[in-house]
């Protein structure tokens, strides 16, 4: 292979890299398949909310209270997130924030779901301390469905 062929191959690789490496593959996903991040700041915002949802281009974020991060809270957050994702797309230039002020479960979580959510929350609590944006110190991780 001569030098020009190698250069051409490198150029093709570079172009492919620039085109395919953006998170646009995530941003263009259907509601429900967007990545969901869980955040648990040490200091929860001064809001009348048990949990806060944030929806931005290409991702959703669930901000949990450290003192109220229970399977029910996470379950309700996921339910509301799924619903608003179906009903309202996220505009390109705007974020959406949904402070959930309270909830009452109308039944009980299944054992399997509860176990999954408890494992997720335990995992979140084990995360190393980092900056959660402008909320300051806290823990965060990507949520994974069962």
């Amino acid at each position: 292979m001569n030098t020009y062929t190698r250069l051409a191959l490198l150029l093709v690789a570079a172009v492919a890299c620039l085109g395919g490496g953006e998170p646009s593959s995530l941003a263009a996903q259907e509601p429900g398949s967007r990545p969901i991040f869980l955040a648990m700041p040490e200091s929860f915002p001064d809001l009348d909310a048990r949990v806060v949802l944030m929806r931005e281009q290409g991702r959703d974020i669930i901000v949990l209270r450290a003192t109220d991060a229970e399977p029910e809270a996470l379950s309700v957050a996921l339910l509301v997130l799924a619903r608003v994702s179906r009903e309202r797309p996220v505009p390109a230039d705007r974020g959406q924030m949904i402070p959930i002020t309270g909830f009452v479960p109308t039944g009980e979580l299944t054992a399997e779901k509860r176990a999954h959510l408890e494992t997720t929350l335990a995992d979140l609590r084990r995360r190393p301390m980092a900056n959660v944006g402008n909320l300051g110190l806290g823990r965060w991780m990507r949520y994974r469905e069962r």
Partner: protein
């Protein structure tokens, strides 16, 4: 090709491959990280006050403002104190909202009323909405008129059973030389009222209990899905600066899987 050039080419190839394999910080699967990594996030600048519905009405023109009016306009009073009479709070449901309405009759050139509508389900408070209205008449033009002032706090609902709305209010009246700043004020009167009794929607029929995986009690662990009655606000903001564009009223509804 010289050995130096081949090495350079290989180095560039490795660099490109490394660049291709890496995602921006936000998209790194955090579960695989062993070292702390920051989450890129701009939380909007919201506080509890962001969600209060309120307005201050300064009456500089003779037209009567919404939510406040003077009765007669020729009622003169001798005392230097402001007074509140007939303060009350009422709550109820309309077709698509719950409300708490506070009203008061007062003397003084500044009247202010706060009311809070609180929505509960099954004995648990799930949301509350605060509203206030302040009415100011320039001191020199008031002449001790008796005025009425009212305000309503709304909670939008999309549920026809099982909710309860309660309400309480704080009523104020005072004399103030001018509005804002450290202006001299005197004769402040204050009162609180509570809606009584609270208003309940009809009880939910038993068939409304979810059959979608929430067990509905008594059969824990046998269902597959979940549901809840919940309330939330809706805020739109600039994801880069955190500036809030809009904050909507509180909304309460059922959420269930697929519903």
């Amino acid at each position: 090709m010289s050995p130096t050039r081949s090495l350079s080419m290989a180095f560039v190839t490795i660099l490109i491959a490394a660049a291709c394999s890496e995602e921006s910080a936000t998209w790194v699967p955090a579960a695989e990280l062993e070292v702390p990594s920051d989450l890129l996030l701009t939380f909007p600048s919201v506080t509890r006050e962001t969600f209060i519905q309120g307005e201050v009405i300064e009456v500089g023109d003779p037209s009567r403002p919404a939510g406040a009016y003077s009765e007669g306009g020729d009622v003169l009073r001798d005392e230097a104190f402001s007074e509140i009479v007939g303060a009350s709070t009422k709550v109820g449901f309309d077709s698509d909202y719950a409300y708490s309405m506070a009203q008061q009759r007062y003397t003084g050139n500044v009247g202010r009323v706060h009311t809070t509508a609180t929505v509960s389900y099954d004995g648990t408070q799930i949301g509350s909405q605060v509203a206030f209205r302040e009415h100011y008449v320039p001191f020199l033009f008031d002449f001790g008129a008796i005025k009425d002032l009212w305000v309503e706090a709304f909670v939008f609902i999309d549920k026809e059973c099982g909710l309860k709305v309660d309400g309480h209010s704080e009523h104020y009246a005072r004399w103030q030389w001018f509005l804002g700043g450290p202006a001299p004020e005197w004769g402040t009167a204050g009162e609180t009222t509570q809606a009584f009794p609270p208003v309940n929607q009809a009880a939910c029929p038993s068939e409304e209990e979810p059959d979608n995986g929430w067990t509905g009690g008594g059969e824990s662990g046998t269902g597959e899905e979940s549901g809840a009655v919940t309330c939330w606000y809706w805020v739109t903001y600039d994801p880069y600066t955190g500036e809030v564009y809009d904050a909507q009223f509180l909304y309460c509804d059922d959420v269930t899987v697929g519903g």
